[in-house]
Amino acid sequence: MAFSGFEGFEKRLEFHFLNDDPNPTINHQLGLRKLEFESIQQILQAVQCTVVSAVGNSYFDAYVLSESSLFVYPTKIIIKTCGTTQLLKSIIPLIYFSNNHLNLTLSSVSYTRGSFIFPNSQPFPHSSFNEEVSYLENTIPSNLCYKKASIMPSKSSSHSWHVFTATQNPHHDHDHIPYELPYTMEICMTELDPVLAGKFFRKPGDEKSGHSAGKEMTELTGINKINKEAFICDFAFDPCGYSMNGMDGGLYSTIHVTPEDGYSYASFECVGSVNNDDDDAIVHVLRKVVQIFRPGTMSVSITTCSEYNNEVWRKVASALEPLGLKCRSCAMDQFPALGSVVFQTFTPLRRKNASK
Protein backbone atom coordinates (compact mmCIF):
# COMPACT_ATOMS: atom_id res chain seq x y z
CA MET A 1 0.00 0.00 0.00
CA ALA A 2 1.43 3.34 -0.99
CA PHE A 3 2.44 5.71 1.78
CA SER A 4 0.51 8.96 1.96
CA GLY A 5 1.72 11.89 4.00
CA PHE A 6 -0.01 15.21 4.56
CA GLU A 7 -0.77 17.00 1.30
CA GLY A 8 0.67 20.51 1.49
CA PHE A 9 -0.36 21.62 -2.01
CA GLU A 10 -3.39 23.84 -1.72
CA LYS A 11 -6.53 24.26 -3.75
CA ARG A 12 -7.51 27.90 -4.18
CA LEU A 13 -10.82 29.54 -5.03
CA GLU A 14 -11.34 33.23 -5.68
CA PHE A 15 -14.86 34.67 -6.00
CA HIS A 16 -15.77 38.14 -7.24
CA PHE A 17 -19.20 39.61 -6.67
CA LEU A 18 -21.06 42.56 -8.12
CA ASN A 19 -22.29 45.20 -5.81
CA ASP A 20 -24.64 46.93 -8.19
CA ASP A 21 -27.33 48.33 -5.94
CA PRO A 22 -28.01 51.84 -7.30
CA ASN A 23 -28.61 53.15 -3.78
CA PRO A 24 -26.10 51.32 -1.62
CA THR A 25 -26.83 51.45 2.07
CA ILE A 26 -23.96 51.34 4.51
CA ASN A 27 -24.59 47.63 4.93
CA HIS A 28 -24.38 47.08 1.23
CA GLN A 29 -20.98 48.76 1.06
CA LEU A 30 -19.73 46.18 3.51
CA GLY A 31 -20.84 43.43 1.15
CA LEU A 32 -19.45 40.05 2.11
CA ARG A 33 -18.07 41.35 5.39
CA LYS A 34 -21.65 41.34 6.63
CA LEU A 35 -21.82 37.55 6.27
CA GLU A 36 -23.01 36.09 9.58
CA PHE A 37 -20.34 34.07 11.29
CA GLU A 38 -22.76 31.09 11.33
CA SER A 39 -22.88 31.29 7.53
CA ILE A 40 -19.09 31.28 7.31
CA GLN A 41 -19.00 28.28 9.63
CA GLN A 42 -21.45 26.41 7.43
CA ILE A 43 -19.36 27.16 4.35
CA LEU A 44 -16.23 25.94 6.13
CA GLN A 45 -18.03 22.86 7.42
CA ALA A 46 -18.75 21.87 3.83
CA VAL A 47 -14.99 21.99 3.24
CA GLN A 48 -14.14 20.29 6.56
CA CYS A 49 -12.06 23.00 8.17
CA THR A 50 -12.42 25.34 11.14
CA VAL A 51 -11.26 28.80 12.20
CA VAL A 52 -8.14 28.76 14.33
CA SER A 53 -7.37 32.51 14.45
CA ALA A 54 -8.74 35.65 12.81
CA VAL A 55 -8.24 39.39 12.55
CA GLY A 56 -9.73 42.28 10.57
CA ASN A 57 -8.88 45.83 9.54
CA SER A 58 -10.81 48.48 7.66
CA TYR A 59 -10.24 46.72 4.31
CA PHE A 60 -10.78 43.00 4.91
CA ASP A 61 -11.05 40.09 7.35
CA ALA A 62 -8.42 37.34 7.45
CA TYR A 63 -9.00 33.90 8.96
CA VAL A 64 -6.36 31.27 9.67
CA LEU A 65 -8.06 27.89 9.19
CA SER A 66 -7.22 24.40 10.38
CA GLU A 67 -6.27 23.72 6.77
CA SER A 68 -5.14 27.12 5.44
CA SER A 69 -6.76 30.55 4.95
CA LEU A 70 -9.84 32.60 4.15
CA PHE A 71 -9.93 36.27 3.16
CA VAL A 72 -13.17 38.25 3.05
CA TYR A 73 -13.33 41.61 1.29
CA PRO A 74 -16.57 43.51 0.52
CA THR A 75 -16.83 42.03 -2.99
CA LYS A 76 -14.16 39.33 -3.05
CA ILE A 77 -13.55 36.09 -1.17
CA ILE A 78 -10.44 33.93 -1.36
CA ILE A 79 -10.34 30.45 0.19
CA LYS A 80 -7.21 28.35 0.11
CA THR A 81 -7.18 24.88 1.68
CA CYS A 82 -4.75 21.95 1.75
CA GLY A 83 -4.78 18.32 2.86
CA THR A 84 -7.78 16.34 1.65
CA THR A 85 -10.33 19.12 2.00
CA GLN A 86 -13.13 19.25 -0.56
CA LEU A 87 -12.76 22.94 -1.34
CA LEU A 88 -15.15 22.99 -4.30
CA LYS A 89 -17.99 22.10 -1.93
CA SER A 90 -17.84 25.66 -0.58
CA ILE A 91 -19.31 27.01 -3.82
CA ILE A 92 -22.95 26.09 -3.30
CA PRO A 93 -23.32 27.38 0.29
CA LEU A 94 -21.35 30.54 -0.47
CA ILE A 95 -23.56 31.41 -3.44
CA TYR A 96 -26.65 30.62 -1.36
CA PHE A 97 -25.70 32.95 1.49
CA SER A 98 -24.44 35.77 -0.70
CA ASN A 99 -27.55 35.72 -2.91
CA ASN A 100 -30.18 35.19 -0.24
CA HIS A 101 -28.77 37.04 2.74
CA LEU A 102 -26.79 39.79 1.07
CA ASN A 103 -28.26 40.26 -2.41
CA LEU A 104 -24.87 39.95 -4.10
CA THR A 105 -24.39 38.38 -7.52
CA LEU A 106 -21.40 36.25 -8.40
CA SER A 107 -19.58 37.77 -11.38
CA SER A 108 -16.50 35.54 -11.65
CA VAL A 109 -14.83 32.57 -10.02
CA SER A 110 -11.34 31.14 -10.50
CA TYR A 111 -9.81 27.88 -9.24
CA THR A 112 -6.07 27.19 -9.22
CA ARG A 113 -3.76 24.55 -7.83
CA GLY A 114 -0.39 22.94 -8.38
CA SER A 115 0.07 19.16 -8.68
CA PHE A 116 -0.70 17.00 -5.64
CA ILE A 117 2.15 15.07 -4.09
CA PHE A 118 -0.37 12.31 -3.25
CA PRO A 119 -3.03 12.61 -5.94
CA ASN A 120 -4.58 9.21 -5.16
CA SER A 121 -5.47 10.36 -1.66
CA GLN A 122 -7.73 13.14 -2.85
CA PRO A 123 -11.48 12.63 -2.39
CA PHE A 124 -14.31 13.58 -4.76
CA PRO A 125 -14.40 15.95 -6.58
CA HIS A 126 -10.63 16.35 -6.50
CA SER A 127 -9.43 13.00 -7.81
CA SER A 128 -8.47 14.62 -11.15
CA PHE A 129 -8.60 18.00 -12.85
CA ASN A 130 -11.28 16.61 -15.17
CA GLU A 131 -13.45 15.79 -12.20
CA GLU A 132 -12.84 19.23 -10.71
CA VAL A 133 -13.73 21.01 -13.94
CA SER A 134 -16.93 18.93 -14.31
CA TYR A 135 -17.95 19.74 -10.77
CA LEU A 136 -17.24 23.44 -11.29
CA GLU A 137 -19.21 23.60 -14.52
CA ASN A 138 -22.15 21.91 -12.84
CA THR A 139 -22.23 24.15 -9.78
CA ILE A 140 -21.43 27.66 -10.97
CA PRO A 141 -24.39 29.80 -12.06
CA SER A 142 -25.11 29.89 -15.77
CA ASN A 143 -24.47 33.63 -16.11
CA LEU A 144 -20.73 32.86 -15.85
CA CYS A 145 -20.63 31.78 -19.46
CA TYR A 146 -17.07 32.74 -20.44
CA LYS A 147 -14.96 29.83 -19.21
CA LYS A 148 -11.50 28.39 -19.66
CA ALA A 149 -9.70 25.42 -18.15
CA SER A 150 -6.04 24.70 -18.72
CA ILE A 151 -3.14 22.72 -17.32
CA MET A 152 0.02 24.80 -17.66
CA PRO A 153 3.01 22.49 -18.03
CA SER A 154 6.59 22.45 -16.80
CA LYS A 155 9.41 20.11 -17.83
CA SER A 156 8.23 17.63 -15.19
CA SER A 157 4.87 15.91 -15.47
CA SER A 158 4.50 15.99 -11.71
CA HIS A 159 4.65 19.78 -11.54
CA SER A 160 1.88 21.53 -13.43
CA TRP A 161 -0.33 24.51 -12.72
CA HIS A 162 -4.07 23.93 -13.09
CA VAL A 163 -6.36 26.89 -13.82
CA PHE A 164 -10.12 27.18 -14.29
CA THR A 165 -11.91 30.51 -14.60
CA ALA A 166 -15.49 31.48 -15.36
CA THR A 167 -16.89 34.97 -15.69
CA GLN A 168 -19.90 36.87 -16.93
CA ASN A 169 -17.69 39.59 -18.36
CA PRO A 170 -14.56 38.50 -20.21
CA HIS A 171 -12.84 41.86 -19.95
CA HIS A 172 -10.48 42.21 -17.03
CA ASP A 173 -12.54 44.59 -14.94
CA HIS A 174 -11.86 43.71 -11.34
CA ASP A 175 -11.88 46.98 -9.50
CA HIS A 176 -8.40 48.33 -9.38
CA ILE A 177 -7.02 51.82 -9.45
CA PRO A 178 -5.97 52.97 -12.93
CA TYR A 179 -2.21 53.16 -13.52
CA GLU A 180 -1.59 50.49 -10.92
CA LEU A 181 -0.94 46.99 -12.19
CA PRO A 182 -2.26 44.53 -9.63
CA TYR A 183 -0.76 41.05 -9.40
CA THR A 184 -1.28 37.89 -7.39
CA MET A 185 1.82 35.77 -6.76
CA GLU A 186 1.54 32.12 -5.65
CA ILE A 187 4.80 30.36 -4.70
CA CYS A 188 4.89 26.59 -4.02
CA MET A 189 8.02 24.97 -2.60
CA THR A 190 8.92 21.34 -1.92
CA GLU A 191 12.00 19.52 -0.62
CA LEU A 192 12.62 22.19 2.01
CA ASP A 193 16.02 22.33 3.68
CA PRO A 194 15.51 19.96 6.65
CA VAL A 195 17.29 22.18 9.17
CA LEU A 196 15.17 25.20 8.19
CA ALA A 197 12.00 23.09 8.12
CA GLY A 198 12.87 21.91 11.63
CA LYS A 199 12.05 25.39 12.92
CA PHE A 200 8.38 24.65 12.26
CA PHE A 201 8.16 21.82 14.81
CA ARG A 202 6.77 22.53 18.30
CA LYS A 203 9.19 21.92 21.14
CA PRO A 204 7.97 18.89 23.09
CA GLY A 205 6.48 19.81 26.46
CA ASP A 206 6.14 23.53 25.84
CA GLU A 207 2.90 24.86 27.24
CA LYS A 208 2.45 27.78 24.94
CA SER A 209 -0.73 28.38 22.99
CA GLY A 210 -0.59 27.73 19.25
CA HIS A 211 -0.75 31.52 18.84
CA SER A 212 2.31 32.34 20.92
CA ALA A 213 4.31 29.41 19.52
CA GLY A 214 3.37 30.69 16.07
CA LYS A 215 4.61 34.16 16.92
CA GLU A 216 7.91 32.68 18.03
CA MET A 217 8.29 30.81 14.73
CA THR A 218 7.50 33.98 12.78
CA GLU A 219 10.32 35.82 14.53
CA LEU A 220 12.81 32.94 14.63
CA THR A 221 12.55 32.23 10.91
CA GLY A 222 12.55 35.86 9.77
CA ILE A 223 9.06 35.66 8.26
CA ASN A 224 8.31 38.96 9.97
CA LYS A 225 11.01 40.57 7.78
CA ILE A 226 9.34 39.74 4.47
CA ASN A 227 7.04 42.74 4.78
CA LYS A 228 7.80 44.84 7.82
CA GLU A 229 4.60 46.87 7.35
CA ALA A 230 2.34 43.83 7.61
CA PHE A 231 0.44 42.83 10.73
CA ILE A 232 0.87 39.07 11.10
CA CYS A 233 -1.71 36.64 12.49
CA ASP A 234 0.16 33.35 12.98
CA PHE A 235 -0.40 29.86 14.38
CA ALA A 236 1.80 26.84 15.13
CA PHE A 237 0.16 23.42 14.86
CA ASP A 238 0.93 20.47 17.12
CA PRO A 239 3.29 18.62 16.66
CA CYS A 240 4.37 20.59 13.60
CA GLY A 241 3.09 22.88 10.88
CA TYR A 242 2.66 26.62 10.62
CA SER A 243 0.27 29.13 9.06
CA MET A 244 0.18 32.88 8.88
CA ASN A 245 -1.87 35.64 7.30
CA GLY A 246 -0.35 39.10 6.81
CA MET A 247 -2.35 42.33 6.54
CA ASP A 248 -0.86 45.48 5.04
CA GLY A 249 -3.70 47.91 4.38
CA GLY A 250 -5.82 46.19 1.75
CA LEU A 251 -3.08 43.71 0.79
CA TYR A 252 -2.94 40.18 2.15
CA SER A 253 -0.13 37.65 2.28
CA THR A 254 -0.21 34.10 3.52
CA ILE A 255 2.26 31.32 4.30
CA HIS A 256 1.59 27.64 5.07
CA VAL A 257 4.25 25.10 6.02
CA THR A 258 4.18 21.29 6.16
CA PRO A 259 7.70 20.61 7.46
CA GLU A 260 7.87 16.80 7.61
CA ASP A 261 10.78 15.28 5.75
CA GLY A 262 9.73 13.25 2.74
CA TYR A 263 6.81 15.47 1.82
CA SER A 264 7.87 18.89 3.08
CA TYR A 265 6.05 21.80 1.50
CA ALA A 266 5.71 25.54 1.97
CA SER A 267 3.61 28.10 0.14
CA PHE A 268 3.78 31.86 0.02
CA GLU A 269 1.09 33.98 -1.61
CA CYS A 270 0.62 37.72 -1.78
CA VAL A 271 -1.01 40.45 -3.81
CA GLY A 272 0.55 43.73 -4.76
CA SER A 273 0.62 46.30 -7.48
CA VAL A 274 3.43 47.37 -9.67
CA ASN A 275 3.67 51.14 -9.78
CA ASN A 276 6.53 52.49 -11.77
CA ASP A 277 9.57 51.39 -9.79
CA ASP A 278 7.95 49.25 -7.22
CA ASP A 279 9.08 46.01 -8.92
CA ASP A 280 11.59 45.61 -6.16
CA ALA A 281 8.86 44.33 -3.88
CA ILE A 282 8.56 41.11 -5.93
CA VAL A 283 12.33 40.65 -5.99
CA HIS A 284 12.67 41.29 -2.27
CA VAL A 285 9.87 38.88 -1.40
CA LEU A 286 11.24 36.09 -3.60
CA ARG A 287 14.70 36.39 -2.10
CA LYS A 288 13.48 36.41 1.49
CA VAL A 289 11.26 33.37 0.86
CA VAL A 290 14.14 31.36 -0.63
CA GLN A 291 16.35 32.35 2.30
CA ILE A 292 13.74 31.10 4.78
CA PHE A 293 13.00 27.75 3.11
CA ARG A 294 15.89 26.86 0.77
CA PRO A 295 13.59 24.63 -1.33
CA GLY A 296 14.68 21.88 -3.68
CA THR A 297 11.93 22.85 -6.11
CA MET A 298 10.00 26.07 -6.44
CA SER A 299 7.18 27.17 -8.69
CA VAL A 300 6.08 30.76 -9.10
CA SER A 301 2.70 31.55 -10.61
CA ILE A 302 1.85 35.20 -11.22
CA THR A 303 -1.54 36.46 -12.34
CA THR A 304 -1.50 39.95 -13.75
CA CYS A 305 -2.73 42.04 -16.65
CA SER A 306 -1.29 41.23 -20.04
CA GLU A 307 0.74 44.44 -20.35
CA TYR A 308 3.02 43.29 -17.57
CA ASN A 309 3.48 39.57 -18.19
CA ASN A 310 6.58 39.83 -20.36
CA GLU A 311 8.50 41.75 -17.76
CA VAL A 312 7.31 39.67 -14.86
CA TRP A 313 8.87 36.36 -15.87
CA ARG A 314 12.18 38.07 -16.44
CA LYS A 315 11.97 39.79 -13.07
CA VAL A 316 11.25 36.52 -11.26
CA ALA A 317 14.03 34.60 -13.02
CA SER A 318 16.58 37.36 -12.45
CA ALA A 319 15.66 37.54 -8.76
CA LEU A 320 16.18 33.80 -8.26
CA GLU A 321 19.19 33.07 -10.45
CA PRO A 322 21.74 34.76 -8.13
CA LEU A 323 20.39 32.53 -5.35
CA GLY A 324 21.34 29.43 -7.31
CA LEU A 325 17.84 28.63 -8.59
CA LYS A 326 17.66 28.05 -12.31
CA CYS A 327 14.49 28.57 -14.29
CA ARG A 328 13.63 25.19 -15.86
CA SER A 329 10.34 26.13 -17.52
CA CYS A 330 8.16 29.11 -18.28
CA ALA A 331 4.58 28.92 -19.50
CA MET A 332 2.19 31.80 -20.16
CA ASP A 333 -1.52 31.82 -20.87
CA GLN A 334 -4.49 34.21 -20.91
CA PHE A 335 -7.71 33.63 -19.03
CA PRO A 336 -11.01 35.56 -19.12
CA ALA A 337 -11.32 38.01 -16.21
CA LEU A 338 -7.97 36.91 -14.71
CA GLY A 339 -5.70 38.37 -17.36
CA SER A 340 -2.38 36.60 -17.84
CA VAL A 341 -0.94 33.76 -15.84
CA VAL A 342 2.81 33.12 -15.96
CA PHE A 343 3.97 29.80 -14.47
CA GLN A 344 7.68 29.17 -13.89
CA THR A 345 9.52 26.34 -12.16
CA PHE A 346 12.97 26.47 -10.57
CA THR A 347 15.45 23.96 -9.19
CA PRO A 348 18.97 24.49 -7.79
CA LEU A 349 21.72 24.86 -10.35
CA ARG A 350 23.64 21.82 -9.23
CA ARG A 351 21.44 18.94 -8.08
CA LYS A 352 23.18 16.06 -6.33
CA ASN A 353 20.59 13.57 -7.56
CA ALA A 354 17.80 14.21 -10.03
CA SER A 355 14.67 13.12 -8.20
CA LYS A 356 11.09 12.73 -9.54
Binding site: I26, L30, F37, V55, G56, Y63, G210, S212, F231
Partner: protein, 124 residues
Protein backbone atom coordinates in the same frame (compact mmCIF):
# COMPACT_ATOMS: atom_id res chain seq x y z
CA UNK B 1 -9.48 53.02 10.68
CA UNK B 2 -12.06 53.42 7.90
CA UNK B 3 -15.05 55.68 7.87
CA UNK B 4 -17.76 53.10 8.23
CA UNK B 5 -20.39 53.65 10.90
CA UNK B 6 -21.87 50.83 12.89
CA UNK B 7 -25.20 49.89 11.41
CA UNK B 8 -26.63 49.28 14.84
CA UNK B 9 -25.01 49.73 18.22
CA UNK B 10 -23.54 46.73 20.01
CA UNK B 11 -26.12 45.27 22.35
CA UNK B 12 -25.51 43.39 25.54
CA UNK B 13 -26.39 39.74 25.35
CA UNK B 14 -28.48 38.17 28.06
CA UNK B 15 -26.00 35.75 29.50
CA UNK B 16 -22.94 37.90 29.65
CA UNK B 17 -21.10 40.07 32.13
CA UNK B 18 -19.52 42.07 29.33
CA UNK B 19 -20.27 45.74 29.83
CA UNK B 20 -20.56 47.90 26.72
CA UNK B 21 -19.36 51.50 26.94
CA UNK B 22 -21.10 53.81 24.49
CA UNK B 23 -19.98 57.28 25.55
CA UNK B 24 -16.76 59.08 26.20
CA UNK B 25 -18.14 60.36 29.52
CA UNK B 26 -18.87 56.83 30.70
CA UNK B 27 -15.39 55.71 29.60
CA UNK B 28 -13.72 58.50 31.53
CA UNK B 29 -15.70 57.70 34.68
CA UNK B 30 -14.94 54.00 34.42
CA UNK B 31 -11.29 54.52 33.61
CA UNK B 32 -10.88 56.62 36.77
CA UNK B 33 -12.35 53.73 38.74
CA UNK B 34 -9.96 51.25 37.11
CA UNK B 35 -6.98 53.29 38.23
CA UNK B 36 -7.98 52.77 41.85
CA UNK B 37 -8.62 49.04 41.63
CA UNK B 38 -6.49 45.88 41.53
CA UNK B 39 -9.04 44.15 39.32
CA UNK B 40 -7.87 43.02 35.90
CA UNK B 41 -9.81 44.82 33.18
CA UNK B 42 -10.14 43.30 29.68
CA UNK B 43 -11.29 45.71 26.98
CA UNK B 44 -12.52 44.26 23.68
CA UNK B 45 -12.19 46.77 20.84
CA UNK B 46 -14.57 45.64 18.09
CA UNK B 47 -16.30 46.81 14.98
CA UNK B 48 -19.68 45.70 13.67
CA UNK B 49 -18.19 45.32 10.19
CA UNK B 50 -15.48 42.92 11.31
CA UNK B 51 -16.17 39.18 10.99
CA UNK B 52 -13.46 38.03 13.40
CA UNK B 53 -15.06 40.22 16.10
CA UNK B 54 -18.37 38.38 15.66
CA UNK B 55 -16.45 35.11 15.90
CA UNK B 56 -15.06 36.10 19.32
CA UNK B 57 -18.33 37.44 20.80
CA UNK B 58 -19.72 34.22 22.26
CA UNK B 59 -16.23 33.25 23.43
CA UNK B 60 -15.81 36.50 25.33
CA UNK B 61 -19.30 36.17 26.83
CA UNK B 62 -18.39 32.72 28.13
CA UNK B 63 -15.08 33.95 29.54
CA UNK B 64 -16.84 36.79 31.37
CA UNK B 65 -19.00 34.22 33.12
CA UNK B 66 -16.05 32.02 33.99
CA UNK B 67 -13.66 34.69 35.27
CA UNK B 68 -15.95 36.60 37.58
CA UNK B 69 -13.06 38.39 39.29
CA UNK B 70 -12.17 40.09 36.00
CA UNK B 71 -13.93 43.13 34.53
CA UNK B 72 -14.91 42.75 30.84
CA UNK B 73 -15.62 45.84 28.73
CA UNK B 74 -16.52 46.17 25.08
CA UNK B 75 -15.92 49.28 22.97
CA UNK B 76 -17.05 49.89 19.39
CA UNK B 77 -14.14 51.51 17.52
CA UNK B 78 -16.51 53.68 15.46
CA UNK B 79 -18.47 54.92 18.50
CA UNK B 80 -15.37 55.72 20.57
CA UNK B 81 -12.79 56.21 17.87
CA UNK B 82 -10.68 58.54 20.01
CA UNK B 83 -10.27 55.94 22.74
CA UNK B 84 -9.34 53.35 20.11
CA UNK B 85 -6.80 55.73 18.62
CA UNK B 86 -5.32 56.62 22.02
CA UNK B 87 -4.80 52.95 22.72
CA UNK B 88 -3.34 52.43 19.25
CA UNK B 89 -5.92 49.92 18.02
CA UNK B 90 -5.32 49.10 14.35
CA UNK B 91 -6.63 45.60 13.76
CA UNK B 92 -9.73 44.01 15.24
CA UNK B 93 -10.54 42.53 17.62
CA UNK B 94 -7.90 43.92 19.96
CA UNK B 95 -8.07 42.97 23.63
CA UNK B 96 -6.26 45.38 25.96
CA UNK B 97 -5.57 44.15 29.50
CA UNK B 98 -5.35 46.89 32.14
CA UNK B 99 -4.38 46.83 35.80
CA UNK B 100 -4.62 50.00 37.88
CA UNK B 101 -5.21 51.91 34.67
CA UNK B 102 -2.01 50.71 33.02
CA UNK B 103 -1.75 48.32 30.07
CA UNK B 104 -0.16 45.03 31.13
CA UNK B 105 -0.76 43.07 27.94
CA UNK B 106 -2.74 42.92 24.74
CA UNK B 107 -3.98 40.30 22.29
CA UNK B 108 -4.55 41.28 18.67
CA UNK B 109 -6.90 39.01 16.75
CA UNK B 110 -9.54 36.43 17.62
CA UNK B 111 -7.20 34.20 19.59
CA UNK B 112 -9.15 32.28 22.18
CA UNK B 113 -6.32 30.30 23.78
CA UNK B 114 -3.96 33.24 23.85
CA UNK B 115 -6.54 35.49 25.53
CA UNK B 116 -7.40 32.80 28.05
CA UNK B 117 -3.73 32.28 28.95
CA UNK B 118 -3.15 35.99 29.44
CA UNK B 119 -6.26 36.45 31.58
CA UNK B 120 -5.11 33.60 33.81
CA UNK B 121 -1.63 35.07 33.99
CA UNK B 122 -2.69 38.59 34.95
CA UNK B 123 -5.79 38.11 37.07
CA UNK B 124 -3.93 37.29 40.29
Amino acid sequence: MGGWFSSQPLTESENSRVKIIHSLARWQLDFNEFKESQTLVVIDFSATWCGPCRFMEPILDAMSNEYTDVEFIKIDVDELSDVAKDLNVQAMPTFVLLKKGKEVDRVIGAKKDELQNKIREHRA
